[in-house]
Symmetry: C2
Subunit: 509 residues, 2 copies
């Protein structure tokens, strides 16, 4: 590895050399995760779980190696003579070491034990729509997360410590500011959508069944259209689509074919493609270093949402998509492009987050953020969550769960101990809209002419190539000149849902 | 893991706890190896190789952990109060630590560097049939292996040290004794086969092409017939079939479909099945411990050869196989069972080891053993290998390579640095024949009635369940009451090739 090209500082070189073992463990665990979801024989889960736990503990030990910390501190003291990449290495390592050292092994073990049981119980509780089964686990999980927040430390709000785990530097205050603007604006947009009647709440194509083989061909064709580098990546099937990165030349995505409503497979692919592209376009010279991958969940989600919603559900994508749908799925032929556009852009205030459209999605996230924040600050007790949820979702979206499976038990996240993760989804929408604005918004040539290669390069130059060189907020400031704000997202939604219907032909033609 | 059931000694428990991390690394590397051969995107090899090297170095560090060694020595001192399993743990750990400590890191790095280049050069040299390209690499590899032998130490012959790496306790003397009996006996059998004329040197079915989809169905059907546990294993495709074990509940085999001569796919499957069955039947209570897998290459190969040759190419297997061939491949229908038996039992003295039948195979191994031994003791120089090879193979089999690609460059092993590995193939045949004898030989009810489940149980009780509890020679002595000798293999070959043709109908009917 010619690390000398950009990593010149001796101490940094030593850090990178030590880090390579940590990277290799991450590589192995990424493959183990991918295999678990794709090809692993069913009973392999027992061995796999034990191996995961061992390797994660080993990784922690390597991260906490006092020699590594000494090198990092040494490099930090000489910060003035480091370049941006080298400073990035120090920043990421300090953060990684700080988190590893803050959380005692005992707490990690307790969390692993509780959450592995909780995931099983959650599944049963959801299938029986019985919150009481899950309640004692949620109580323990909240308690553990609160302890974790105390161990990690925070300046303003204990929830900040948890947010930061998923999104470096994100604070409760940032998220509140975003939702304070986004929630009322979204409600207004939803009202206008209803009164205009252009965007349907349901489209007949959603009920159409498709042939799985044909859909597999369609997915391959879309990726070929995206110039997917088959020598550096794969596409497989899994129950829940995901992207995994095992190195700059091995990035894998998965899709799911449900046999009905083809747009679901298409857009989950385009979403994962956005994640994959980020990793594919990181500067290869950063490979195997602490800054060699995407910088945060939120920036990552920004890339996937940009491709899924802004490129893929935009008017500019419709002819390109319809051509391929017509070829492989056939029954789309009798629908004109405007109908296809309406089919992929239904807006339906409803109960289930994972089925939500790009307008209502953030309201689902707001609900979860609000509950998580209150659980962590202790102003809401786990036992109160179902009732609080039902009231709040009705207030936000005008729909009320018939049972707790459609309400507080719908997501797996809490059973995994993931509290503080949900806001990164909305952050993704915020980031995607900021990129859209900087790309030119409604007037973007790249989008209007669907110059896919130029779009990729635009993203590469501004965001992807840097990997984790800059912290998320700094990256947004440097590369897009934006702060964390809902402004661009609101403008994007207003344009797409209130203005565009009247001039759609200009964009689709 | 209820290790208390069989591992009661406190020090042993501590060893097993420490070993679990080493096991987990092995699990990850096994998956990385499997993926490399099956699904990894082409350019992923760079990341994969770097990760392998890092994790292997990490594994070495963990094996050489002084605390682990202290525990092992402590347990050894208290040997009298250990049960057989616990003594097995001590034996395997002592051996693993001894090997890791003997070979200096510098030598490992040098070997890794030379062999990774050598593998590429070997491929080119073979394709150009030009030994000179490969010669300097073979010289370095032999030199490194000689150094390794000195570091490892030996009592009688430096080659012993290398043999022991692949087969615990195997000595040059053992292998010589086997071949001293086996080589002349094989030559006699070959002569008799030629004069009897029953076993063909070529069968017309070898030229028949088959449909890959149909062959995949056939392979699945054979595995279903073997009651393959799909919840604990997989079958995939790869260029070179192999078996890999990632834990007691995750064992994977691969097959290869060449489109011609269906027996090649069938018997490579049956061979790998034999390997897989060994791992599938290890006592699950030994999982994640140093004795939780097959004990050695030779015993492992014994299992695969037993299934491939003794079960699969035996007269007892023909009707079972023909039923499935007829169903999926079709053109076998016009051949009677005796013809199918002759088709799967061609005997052809020829040049290429991997294409050799069970009679001539050991002569190929003898040639390699003879050359390796001389290279290591320094009585043959790498530059002399091609000529020596050609003369020797002509003397053994009556055929002479037209070029070095058919001779000394045919195998990949030396380019990998594997010197001392080949004899385990013949050891496998020796072990398989000993098992056959103990199972009842020609009169075995289990074989004659093809009681597959009983055969599996027989193997499980005597060999498989023990994992690496007993060293190979001890296992053979305890479970089969045999020493390492070619006696049973010669008896088996004489029975099958000289006696059986006259009473084949008794066995096939």
């Amino acid at each position: 590895m010619p690390i000398g090209e950009i990593f010149r500082h001796d101490t940094i070189k030593k850090i990178i050399l030590k880090y390579k073992t940590i990277w290799a463990l991450g590589h192995a665990m990424a493959l183990m995760g991918w295999d678990l979801e794709t090809y692993m024989p069913q009973d392999g889960i027992k061995d796999r779980s034990e191996a995961f736990a061992e390797l994660e503990a080993l990784r922690q030990r390597l991260v906490k190696d006092p020699e590594l910390e000494k090198l990092v501190n040494e490099a930090e003291k000489d910060s003035g003579s480091l370049n941006d990449y080298e400073r990035g290495v120090v920043r990421v390592m300090k953060r990684t070491i700080r988190i590893a050292k803050a959380i005692p092994e005992e707490l990690i073990r307790r969390e692993a034990k509780v959450t592995s049981e909780a995931t099983v119980v959650w599944k049963r509780a959801k299938s029986k729509a019985n919150f009481d089964l899950f309640k004692p686990y949620l109580e323990q999980i909240v308690e553990i997360q609160r302890e974790k927040a105390e161990k990690l430390g925070y300046e303003e709000h204990p929830y900040d410590a948890l947010l930061d785990l998923y999104e470096e530097g994100l604070r409760t205050r940032d998220v509140e500011k975003i939702f304070n603007e986004l929630v009322p604006a979204t409600k207004k947009i939803l009202e206008a959508i209803r009164s205009m009647g252009f965007y349907p709440s349901h489209h007949p194509l959603e009920d159409r069944e498709y042939d799985i083989d044909a859909a597999q061909q369609l997915i391959r064709d879309i990726l070929v259209g995206f110039e997917w580098p088959w020598n550096r990546g794969r596409v497989d099937e899994s129950a829940h689509p995901f992207t995994i990165e095992m190195g700059v030349n091995d990035i894998r995505i998965t899709v799911r074919y449900e046999g009905r409503d083809i747009k679901r497979a298409v857009y989950s692919l385009v979403h994962e493609y956005g994640h994959a592209l980020y990793e594919l376009q990181v500067d290869p010279r950063l490979a195997h270093t602490p800054i060699g991958g995407g910088v945060s969940m939120g920036i990552h989600e920004g890339q996937s949402r940009f491709w899924e919603n802004i490129v893929g559900r935009g008017p500019w994508f419709i002819k390109w998509l319809k051509e391929r749908l017509d070829k492989h799925i056939g029954y789309t032929k009798s629908y004109d492009p405007v109908e296809i556009y309406r089919y992929v852009n239904t807006v339906r205030p409803d109960l289930i987050r994972v089925d939500a459209d790009e307008v209502t999605y953030n309201l689902h996230i707001y609900l979860r953020f609000d509950i998580e924040k209150k659980l962590i600050e202790g102003t809401l007790h786990p036992s109160e969550v179902p009732m609080y949820w039902d009231n709040k979702i009705e207030e936000l979206l005008g729909v009320r769960p018939r049972n707790v499976a459609e309400g507080a038990l719908q997501d797996i996240h809490w059973s995994h101990g993931s509290i503080g993760y949900f806001p990164t989804y909305t952050l993704g929408n915020v980031v995607a809209a900021a990129m859209w604005t900087r790309m030119g918004g409604p007037d973007s040539e790249l989008l209007r002419k669907l110059k896919l290669r130029s779009i990729r390069n635009w993203l590469k130059e501004r965001i992807h190539q840097w990997g984790a060189t800059y912290a998320p907020k700094e990256l947004l400031r440097r590369s897009l000149g934006v702060e964390l704000t809902a402004k661009y997202l609101v403008e994007y939604l207003e344009w797409k849902y209130l203005e565009l219907p009247n001039k759609l032909n200009e964009y689709i033609a």
